[in-house]
């Protein structure tokens, strides 16, 4: 009954159990991912060959882009120096964390990491993997925290199309990710990046989430809805990074 009446008691009990079972949990997690990776390698071997060829071509084009970005970066830092801007230390802004548990029930999308309030984790902090936004911190316990994934049905993120700059609301769910409430005059290309818009102030702007898919709404709708292909493969993640927001 206490579990129903007091959510803080539920959180404290969770903290106690996760603290004492995190060793076993992380071992189970490691074994399952090892099995999963081994199986997926052998079943996808022909796809991997094809992907390898495609990636080889991509690397060549990215090398060209990279050199151009490097030039722009140098130019940017030079201009910033001249204007007196101070660059924040980006390496200290990330807290690495291991995934120790996932919600086992269907229709829920939350994961538990091995870092908590003792590691300066606070509720609302953003979580990334390879610089791709994957969710926000929901509950913080002393040594563990719960992440509400962007793919969860309870997740609502302010996002936008990177090129057309049209803002919308990104919603999760079992059927996938959708960018809602986009104005009808918006034109976009399939594969265009979807990034956080920073509206509301909780999540920093410009964090990559996924790519735009096909149009899902009817032509008569007041707003457009488009499907979003997430870039991070959440089911195979082992390590995530909690990003300290500028306000934290």
């Amino acid at each position: 009954m206490t579990l129903v009446i007091s959510p803080s008691f539920r959180l404290k009990t969770s903290s106690f159990f996760y603290k004492n079972t995190s060793g076993i949990s992380s071992r189970f997690e490691k074994i399952s991912l090892h099995i999963k990776n081994t199986f997926s390698f052998w079943t996808n071997i022909s796809d991997l060959k094809k992907q390898n060829e495609e990636l080889g071509q991509k690397i060549t084009s990215l090398k060209v882009d990279s050199s151009q970005i490097e030039e722009l970066k140098n130019e940017n830092s030079l201009l910033k120096k001249q204007l007196g801007f101070i660059e924040p230390d980006k390496t200290n802004a990330l807290i690495p964390a291991k995934i120790i548990a996932r919600d086992a029930a269907t229709f829920t999308d939350e994961i538990v990491i091995d870092k908590g309030s003792k590691d300066n984790i606070k509720s609302g902090m953003t979580v990334v993997s390879s610089n791709i936004f994957i969710g926000t911190i929901k509950d913080v316990m002393s040594t563990t925290s719960t992440i509400l994934l962007v793919t969860s049905k309870d997740s609502i993120v302010q996002a936008m199309l990177q090129n057309s700059r049209s803002k919308g609301v990104l919603r999760g769910g079992i059927s996938g990710l959708y960018l809602d409430d986009i104005t009808t005059d918006t034109t976009y290309t399939i594969g265009e990046n979807i990034v956080t818009s920073g509206l509301g102030g909780d999540i920093p702007a410009g964090m990559l989430i996924g790519t735009a898919g096909k149009l899902e709404s009817a032509s008569s709708s007041i707003f457009k809805t488009i499907s979003v292909e997430p870039l991070a493969n959440i089911s195979s993640l082992e390590l995530v990074f909690v990003k300290k927001n500028e306000t934290n």
Binding site: E29, V112, T146
Partner: protein, 165 residues
């Protein structure tokens, strides 16, 4: 119930829940994965001679309240009231269930379990129904296999003890 039995149930409950949240949850397909704790509880509710399954069910309610983000009402409905209903039906209509009856029970229990979650989540779409179907299929098959292995072991051990006597 003896204290040692309670401790064993607690350890077994924690083990199966940890297995669900840290092991089987990685093999998720269409949002569904194997829920070993639920399978064990359903088999206990069908085959259990005593009311021990209610203690285990209650323990699972507490453990899932700790390890899952589901609301307590949904957890209680799925992990406590569902096995009680199963046990009542078994005792009344099929006191000695055979393999096919057990498979039928597992299918019905898994379907009801995930359907309750579907109602709670309001995910009324094709993917939601696919998740319910997949959950029912994998959990009833895994449960049936687990029961078959358990029953075979039980038979073998009871036979060997009879020979010794």
């Amino acid at each position: 119930m003896k204290q040692i039995k309670l401790i064993l149930y607690l350890l077994f409950g924690v083990f199966t829940v940890l297995l669900d949240v840290s092991f089987f949850s990685n093999f998720e397909k269409y949002g569904a994965s194997i829920l070993s704790s639920f399978i064990v509880m359903v088999i206990m509710a069908i085959k259990g001679q005593s009311d021990d399954y209610t203690y285990f069910a209650l323990l699972l309610v507490i453990l899932f309240a700790i390890f899952s983000s589901l609301p307590l009402g949904v957890i209680a409905l799925n992990f406590f009231f569902l096995p009680i209903a199963l046990n009542i039906i078994t005792k009344k209509y099929f006191p000695t269930p055979n393999n096919f009856t057990i498979l039928f029970y597992l299918i019905a229990a898994s379907f009801l379990f995930d359907f309750i979650l579907l109602v709670w989540s309001h995910e009324w779409n094709a993917v939601g129904f696919l998740a319910v179907g997949y959950f029912t299929a994998i959990n009833s098959m895994a449960g049936w296999l687990a029961y078959y292995v358990f029953a075979s072991f039980k038979k073998r051990f009871s036979l060997s003890s009879e020979i010794k006597i």
